[in-house]
């Protein structure tokens, strides 16, 4: 009896120890986590005292001085490039280690290692799309360049030097919540981070949907509803710009493609939000007589922010701007002489090829009139708590065959089964050198040289210099294609469908100092139809670009505030175009009291998506429902994934084809007209707002419907921001949605000394226990910009310094 009692007394404490030391489901090991000596309480930073630090890192060549200003932005002063990038790695890791780890793990398909089998499909998708394959090729390209190699190795050494200083007491809190450890940084992770940007910005592909549409509706309707150029456009390169080159011969369109479009042969989607604005004004339009440049890239908003502000100062370089944690250099910013920024081109650089396999072993495929061998690549997916899963991916000369069976994974909806993927991100590349040269650039020639190193994701690079030059270039490595090559799934057996080389970089569309005195881009069409090469058949809707150009065209004596206020402009060209056509169709006699009141709001509306506008909420839901009413019965068919025609095409139809057959809902016996759909949509909008908020009152205001907030990168509850009651919408310059929008707002006034202004919705520190975690969110929400401290030396008094870090060997 006593023996049993004694045994019990030993076992119970042991059991308790295991219970409170083990991660159960998503709950972290309770007492390990709550332990104030080593658990999360240790991550609570002292808000009231800042300390100076000294650290010795082996491999540093000379001394490095880093000063932190009152927003925790590091200003690095090094004596050579190697130390500069080592220091960048060190401080970025100091503030954002977990973010860098998480984002590169995600890119590499290694999330299951941390969270277990529930992430297997997520990881498999990354492996099948060839993310690691692409990163390996990209790294080869970078390591072959001695400068890029030096940058990457130094950056890696800096990160690892920081990791060495950590013990489990001071791991970033997410490691404690998810119960795992930081691992050493390796050069491939820099490549993975860059590939992940490509995945976010250049993984758009609708050809699976388009091919299904072509099969269902035939070539005539497909051409009509999905045209190759919008009916209203304001292209990035102004209309009338001459092309000063003789283009390469365009590859011939294969006869089989033309036959498919004429219906003889049977052949075998991107959310709005992936976009940005940038523009530059020449001195002729500014009060100072010197250029002003602005950029606001639109990305998913997260805490910590995708961007990290930094200043890099070393012999030959003194640049300030935002960097991507995980890659050395400054991506968007300025130096003494020039400023630059980027928006997404969204070129057609991702294609699917239908493959004819010999048999179910998939060892051979038909191409160029013979059987060719596939390459097998084994991807080992480590899973927490389970055996590794070995995934076999078959590679053709085009690229990997992504899926043989449809997985249960939303992101894979636009991937056709059994098809091989050709993607620009699989190429060798050396993007880091573009930013290396931009960071050190003095003038237009330097800018043009920097662009030649860039592969993907293609960006509209805007530029301004103190020599009063402005320019914009939709730039990247573009495959040389025949028109519409890639709009539909391609024939993988026929060499005529391969990519036939590249557009020479010097022939990428570009304009310098146009007569109108400004350049701009908002992801609209790169050019007018006179450009000889095919970049894509569809770009972003033109409304943002048009509004930007309308405002810049009449701007005189512009200063900081002119530009700052433009970045937060909530006026909607879409509302301007659409309201006159649909408002008259609403029949007030069929409306109830709430709906009549709603109609009066819309009638008085100034077309601004301001925070307090009730009409904006009504209009937004109304137009979304109208689009649904027009297209859903035709393009939402179970088993046949398709997509709707573009917003531009829909608006064109509403304006120009009021009696189109497409308004009829084929599911009903009644023949609907545009007026029927408009009225149903209007009532639907009012009813849904009433269901959600009750009768019309302040709660109907746009900010309350939009619910903008900045969540944590891994969506950990409590670690995000509160709801921000602000305006903006995707069809306006201030392109804010629920949690996507201007991830960085920057305005640079060039001059004898550049005056930089910027803000992002977040903070420099990735530690939720730091006061620098989200300290800039409110300013961003209020449309304000901070004055950026552009220091000339580490003792420059113009900056407010709160702490220093010295790195020595």
């Amino acid at each position: 009896m006593n023996k049993i009692k004694a045994l019990f007394c030993i076992l119970v404490p042991i059991f308790l120890t295991f219970l409170f030391n083990t991660k159960i489901g998503t709950t972290p090991p309770l007492l390990k986590f709550l332990n104030p000596f080593m658990g999360f309480w240790q991550n609570a930073e002292n808000n009231h005292f800042m300390f100076n630090h000294k650290v010795k890192i082996k491999g540093t060549i000379d001394q490095v001085e880093i000063v932190f200003d009152d927003r925790m932005i590091p200003h690095i002063f090094a004596q050579n490039d190697h130390d500069l990038y080592l220091a960048q790695g060190y401080v970025t890791a100091m503030h954002r280690l977990w973010q860098m780890d998480f984002q590169t793990r995600f890119a590499a398909g290694r999330i299951s290692e941390v969270v277990g089998p529930k992430a297997i499909e997520v990881d498999r998708y990354q492996r099948r799309m060839g993310m690691v394959y692409g990163a390996e090729n990209s790294l080869k390209g970078m390591m072959a360049d001695p400068k890029a190699k030096e940058m990457i190795l130094a950056y890696t050494a800096g990160i690892n030097a920081y990791i060495k200083t950590l013990s489990s007491t001071n791991y970033p809190i997410e490691y404690k919540i998810l119960d795992y450890k930081p691992e050493d940084w390796t050069p491939i992770k820099c490549a993975l981070l860059l590939k992940q940007m490509s995945a976010v910005l250049a993984m758009g592909s609708d050809e699976f949907y388009m091919t299904n549409i072509l099969k269902k509706f035939g070539p005539d309707i497909t051409k009509d509803l999905f045209p190759d150029y919008p009916f209203r456009e304001d292209p990035i390169i102004p209309v009338g710009t001459k092309w000063d080159f003789s283009p390469l011969p365009i590859p011939k369109t294969p006869a089989s493609f033309t036959k498919a479009l004429t219906g003889d042969v049977k052949t075998k989607e991107k959310i709005e939000g992936i976009g940005s604005n940038n523009w530059a004004l020449s001195g002729s339009k500014t009060a100072s007589g010197m250029p002003i440049l602005a950029n606001d890239p639109h990305l998913d908003l997260t805490l910590p922010s995708i961007w990290y502000q930094i200043q890099l100062h070393a012999p030959g370089v003194n640049a300030y701007g935002v960097s991507l944690p995980g890659a050395p250099g400054i991506i968007i910013g300025f130096n003494q002489k020039i400023a630059w920024g980027v928006t997404n081109v969204a070129a057609d650089v991702l294609d699917f090829y239908q493959i004819k396999f010999k048999d179910s072993t998939h060892n051979e495929y038909w191409y160029n009139n013979k059987w060719n061998n596939t390459n097998k690549r084994l991807e080992a997916i480590k899973i927490r708590g389970q055996k590794d899963e070995i995934d076999t991916v078959y590679y053709t000369h085009h690229g990997p065959v992504v899926y043989f069976q449809k997985p249960k994974y939303v992101r894979a909806n636009n991937v056709p089964i059994g098809d091989a993927l050709r993607w620009i991100a699989h190429e060798q590349s050396n993007e880091l050198m573009t930013f290396y040269y931009l960071n050190r650039g003095h003038n237009y020639a330097d800018y043009r040289k920097a662009l030649t190193y860039y592969t993907a994701p293609a960006q509209n690079f805007v530029f301004a210099s103190v020599e009063n030059d402005i320019s914009i270039t939709p730039n990247g490595k573009f495959p040389l294609k025949w028109k519409d090559q890639g709009k539909f799934i391609l024939d993988g057996t026929d060499p005529a469908y391969d990519w036939h080389g590249w557009i020479p970089t010097a022939q990428n569309p570009t304009v310098k100092n146009p007569p109108r005195g400004f350049v701009s881009s908002a992801n609209q069409s790169s050019t007018d139809p006179t450009y000889p090469y095919y970049i894509n058949w569809e770009f972003s809707p033109y409304e943002r670009g048009k509004r930007i150009n309308d405002r810049l065209a009449v701007m005189k004596n512009a200063n900081l505030d002119s530009i700052r206020l433009m970045q937060t402009d909530n006026y909607s060209i879409m509302a301007q175009n659409l309201l006159p056509a649909v408002l008259p169709l609403v029949n007030p006699d069929l409306l109830n009291a709430t709906q009549k009141e709603a109609l009066s709001y819309v009638n008085k509306w100034n077309k601004r998506y301001d925070a307090n506008e009730i009409a904006a909420s009504i209009f937004e839901i109304w137009t979304k429902r109208l689009t649904f009413n027009i297209w859903n019965d035709k393009f939402e068919v179970k088993g046949i994934p398709m997509r709707y025609p573009s917003r531009d095409r829909t608006i064109e139809m509403i304006l120009k084809e009021p009696n189109s057959r497409w308004y009829d809902n084929t599911a009903t016996t009644k023949v609907e007209t545009l007026s029927d759909l408009v009225n149903e949509a209007f009532k639907y909008s009012c009813d849904s707002l009433e269901r959600r908020f009750g009768p019309i009152k302040k709660d109907w205001c746009w900010a309350n419907v939009k619910q903008t907030n900045v969540p944590h990168l891994a969506k950990i509850p409590g670690f995000g921001s509160k709801i921000l009651m602000i305006g903006g919408a995707k069809s306006t310059i201030n392109a804010i949605s629920e949690s996507n929008g201007p991830s960085w707002r920057m305005v640079i006034e060039l001059g004898k000394t550049p005056k930089g202004h910027g803000v992002y919705p977040g903070g420099q520190s990735g530690n939720p226990g730091s006061k620098f975690y989200d300290n800039m969110v409110d300013s961003w929400a209020n449309g304000q910009l901070y004055d950026l401290f552009y220091m000339q030396s580490s003792t420059d008094k113009s900056a407010k310094i709160i702490s220093r870090l010295k790195i020595s060997k």
Partner: protein, 105 residues
Amino acid sequence: MVLPWWIIVVVAFATCGIIGKTGKIAFWQSFLAIFLLWVGYALFKSLPNDNILANRVAVMTGVKLWWALLLVTGLLSGLAAGISGYCGYHFRKAMLIKKTDEKIA
């Protein structure tokens, strides 16, 4: 050198095993000691932080308020120590009775 959290289990077990007077005292003194130690040190870290982190983690765990999280820290750790202390005391008692059983036998 920082020790892992379960040192409280070991220390409570051993201490009450050696000098524990009754099961009740073993439980409550262990509980109180660790409760005060953990809550005290947590406050020492959290107050200069203006409880920013504690508030966020409180929302994450569902207890919503930072001092509720503090209470949970104290209660759970106290419970673990208390139970271990109680087990330590009874373990010794069980071993002693065994010894006397053997002596008699």
